[in-house]
Structures are given as structure tokens and as C-alpha cells.
Symmetry: C2
Subunit: 334 residues, 2 copies
Amino acid sequence: MRHVLYRGVIPWLVCITFAAATSSFAQNLLPSWNDGEAKKAITSFVTTVTDASSPDYVPPSERIAVFDNDGTLWTERPVYFQLLFAIDRVKELADKHPEWQTQQPFKAVLENDMETLAGSGEKGLMELLMASHAYMTTEEFTQIVKKWLSSATHPTLHRPYTELVFQPMLELLNYLRANGFKTFIVSGGGIEFMRPWTEKVYGIPPEQVVGSSIVTKFELQDGKPVLVREPKINFIDDKDGKPICINQYIGRRPIFAFGNSDGDLQMLQWTTLNQTSKRFAGIVHHTDGDREFAYDKDSHIGRLDKALAEGAAHGWTVVDMKKDWKVIYPFELQ
Amino acid sequence: MRHVLYRGVIPWLVCITFAAATSSFAQNLLPSWNDGEAKKAITSFVTTVTDASSPDYVPPSERIAVFDNDGTLWTERPVYFQLLFAIDRVKELADKHPEWQTQQPFKAVLENDMETLAGSGEKGLMELLMASHAYMTTEEFTQIVKKWLSSATHPTLHRPYTELVFQPMLELLNYLRANGFKTFIVSGGGIEFMRPWTEKVYGIPPEQVVGSSIVTKFELQDGKPVLVREPKINFIDDKDGKPICINQYIGRRPIFAFGNSDGDLQMLQWTTLNQTSKRFAGIVHHTDGDREFAYDKDSHIGRLDKALAEGAAHGWTVVDMKKDWKVIYPFELQ
């Protein structure tokens, strides 16, 4: 009898312990989020779609979550970090390009004349991007990005860029993965600028990173197959481009999406509007000028205007960084 | 003392049992492969790269395996199944297009005049593809493909197309996944033609399917976000296009690749040539005219010529379907 009891009790004890651990685990995965509407909306959604007895249950294979990167997972001010990379890269290459001393927008970059650079418009910016992002193999570019990230620091926060990721969002990514979600980045940033570091920093592997891209060309160089990066845009993964890329790269409609600007509007629409099953859309609202940067509808970088208005109409969750987040960056916990 | 012994022995027993199970598990995962050079090359490669004590060990995150689809995972004769889909689709739509009665290549399709259709060249084929693959939303197209697959049968084998997949390759996909590999399709076929069924048939989810694509356009139709398929090629994932797509979609160089035709040559080169770590390239050689189809260098569909010659020079593994495979299709096991 004792043996029977023993055999019967052990599995129960294991189950109870495991269930308790799972539940507190979930709660503990969002320690940097203050208790409030945003955290509640997230945990309520995740609890519902992972509850096998709920009519809103979603099987694990369909738990696709997409995140914008700039301004959603890491800081994007004073300008997108990738633009700062392009500027540093042009300065590094200047010796080999004496013509840049007199040619815009390169002259402006070399003279740290940001006003003239901004005034060079889309054409100037594109020239800057191509000069810094093309004319090498994909593997060479990866090494260039890694080297830059290992030494460059933010102009005002004086930290390496990969330390300027949002601690609460790292926790959210882990929380979703612990609940069977597959997490993707869907960013206007360069796909090959992100892939070298997203696995280490966010736990998101290269094959789950979607972004803007330039054209590449296959070549055998001395018998070694390489892809050469050409100075030509392949696709811009922003605005309308986001749902297009989600469909092209992922091939499933996400059930969970997070962005922070009007560039994410169509991705949030694609995820949530007029769908037959439960969906979640979140917006990071940059409200904390003390700990990070405060901006929305009047900002050139990460403008948030239409998406905020539409979010209010559709019940999307708006995260108030100042109120909802205990800390902004991981180093604040040290 | 007995308790100490007990506590010490149990974990060992568990470990030994598990190790034995794992080993025989691996062997049992390739039951339709005859013992021969091909099977040996596959198991030897997998055993080596998954052995943590080997200098050729590869961590799980880098175990990327890519497979061509037509002729590698399923049959591609008498013509690519997607072309048969296009033909059936045009016939279904003919009532709404009276002009097709006199307009090529549609007239040829409606009259089952395959010679004239073949003679219409790339331009004719493209018109046929666009008429059958565009002018609807991505979700409508998915439903059309699913409906076709549920009723259409192969012209000579008289089986649904999804039954004409290669049993030994299904086993190989499982074997690789059981060894921590992530399996991808990289096919010249349409990405949205494959995604509706690859998870069920191959265990490969939509987000791990790479293929040729057409342009899509984001629209809000009565408040519902849709992607409309436009009659314009986005990218052809064949030949040079395969390494380009592997880099674009997956972002890592595979360590294992399988193809069957010259369209896979660059993918096999990209995977194996002049790499610093151990790689595997395999070619399915269609040698079995009795059980499937026999063809190679003189075939218009799935021509295998250059890749076979280059494979011999580089030590790629060539699978002789007649000699290496006990069965071709899953239904032979029933």
C-alpha cells in the first residue's frame, strides 16, 4: 500500500511543483515592468492564447511574434545607430577617397556638418549608405559591423550600442519564448547590419531577422563562393513593406506585434485588424526624456502620430516608458 | 549503503538506456536507405558534426540543412507539378476569359496542345503563370492551392501530388531534425505554392520555406489588411538565385545541402567549396525508370549535367535512386 501511495504521489508532486514553477516563472520573466495596464494586457493575452482549454487557444506553431527594432528594442536617438555606423565608416574610408573632401554628402560627414548632411535629403543619404554598405562580400560586411560594435559608443550616453537595448523588452522576448512563441525582428534597418549581433543580444537567430536589404551578386572568387554587396536597394522593409516582408520571409500572419512609430502602422494593422482570432498590438511610446529620449509626433526619427491615433481606436496597448518601465537599460540593474 | 548504491546507479542506468536508444533511434530513422556509400556518407557526416568531442563539432544553432524541392523531395516529371497546377487553373478560369479561346498560350492549354505550349517559350510560360498565380490575395491563393491538392492527381501515377514525395528523403529530414538540424526548403518553385502543405507533408514550417516569388501589394479592403498578388516576378530562386536567397532568408551558410539538378549547382557550391568547417552536399540522381523516372543530362526538366561532373570532382554524395532506395514513395510501405 505504501508503494502504491508512493507511486501515485510522486507524479503529482512533480506536476504540482512544475506548474507552480511555470506560473511564478512567467511572472518573474517581466520584473522590469511595473504593474499596470500594459503589463496586464500582455500577460492576459499570453495566458489566454496558451491555455489549451480557452476558445482563443493558439497552437505553438502559430505563435508568431514580430518586433520592430529601432526605438522598439533599442534606442534610435539622436539618429538611427546604423546611420552613425555609416558616418564612422565613411570617415574610416576617407583616405582611399580623396574626392570625398569636396564631394557632398561626404564632405559634410568628414567635417561633422550634420546640418548639411541632413539637407542632402534622401539622395545624399542613399549615397552615404551605399558607400558604407556596398562594395564588399557579405562576410566582410559582417566583420566590419562586428568590429564597429566592439569599439563605437553612443554620442551622449557613452555606452556601446548593444548595451542600449531595452531591458523590459528583453524580458518580454524571453517571456514570449518561454510560452512557445517564435520571436522575429521586422525592421526598417539593414538585415545584414542586425544579423551579426541579434542572437547574442536578443536571443533572435539570423533566420528570424527580417529587414531592409541591398542587392547581392553570386561570384566564385578564386574558387570560393561569395556574395558581393552591390550599391542598389533590394527592398525597404518599412511601412507597407513590413507586411509584405512578413509574408515573404515568415509566411504566416503574426498574432503579436510591437512597434514604436508610424513606420510600424501597417505591420500592426496586418497583425490585428479584422482577424478571426485573438491578436495583440503594442506601441512603445518614448515618454522618458530623463532616462532615454522623449518624442512622438513632431520627431523626424521614429515619428509616432497616426499609429498612436489608430491604436487608440483599435485598443492597441501603448507602453508609457516613463510609467511602465522600472528600468530602461540592462546596465541599470548592475 | 544500499541507498547510496541505488542513488548512484539509477542515473547511470538512465544515461545508458538513453544513449542506446539515441543510437538505435538514429539508425532506425533511415530504414528505406540501403546500406551503401550514400547512407554511410550521410550518417558519418551527421555523427561527426554532432559529436561534442570532435574537432568538426558544429553547435546546434549552426546546423542548417537546405533542400531543393522539385526532384529532390518529390517527383518533378512529366513536368513540374506547379505547371500542372497552372494548367488546371487556367482551364478552371476559362469561362471568365472568352478571349483565351483564341489567345496563346491559353488556347494551347485549353486544347491540351502541350507541344504548342512548350513552343510558346519563356514569355508564354510567364503569361500562363501570371494568369494562374496573380490577381488574388495571398490568402485566396493559399486556399486555391489547398483545394487543388485535395483533388488533383498525377497524370501517369494517378496519385495525389503530396503522396509523390520521396520516403527516404522524409526519413532524412526527420533524421537531421532528430540530430538538432533546422531543415529548410530552397526551391525554384513558388514560395506560396509550397507553404500551404510543407509543414504537414515534410514537417517544414512556412517560415523555413524559401522559393521564387511574385510581387505583392498591401491594401486595406473594407478595413481588412490584405496582400494582393501582382502579375510581376519578384525573384527567381534558382541557380545563382539560390545562394542569394539562402543569404537573404536564412542569413547563415548551410552546412548540409541536397539538390538534384544543375539549378542546384550554386547552392551546393555555396554550401561546400573552400569552407573551413566540414560540409555535406548531396545529389539525388534519377536512375529508376521503373519505380519513378530516369533522366539526367538530356532532360529539359531537372537537367543534371554540370552538377554531376562538379560533384565528382568535389566528393559530393550522389544518391542512385535505384540502388540506394528500398522504396521511392510512402505508399509502397502500406
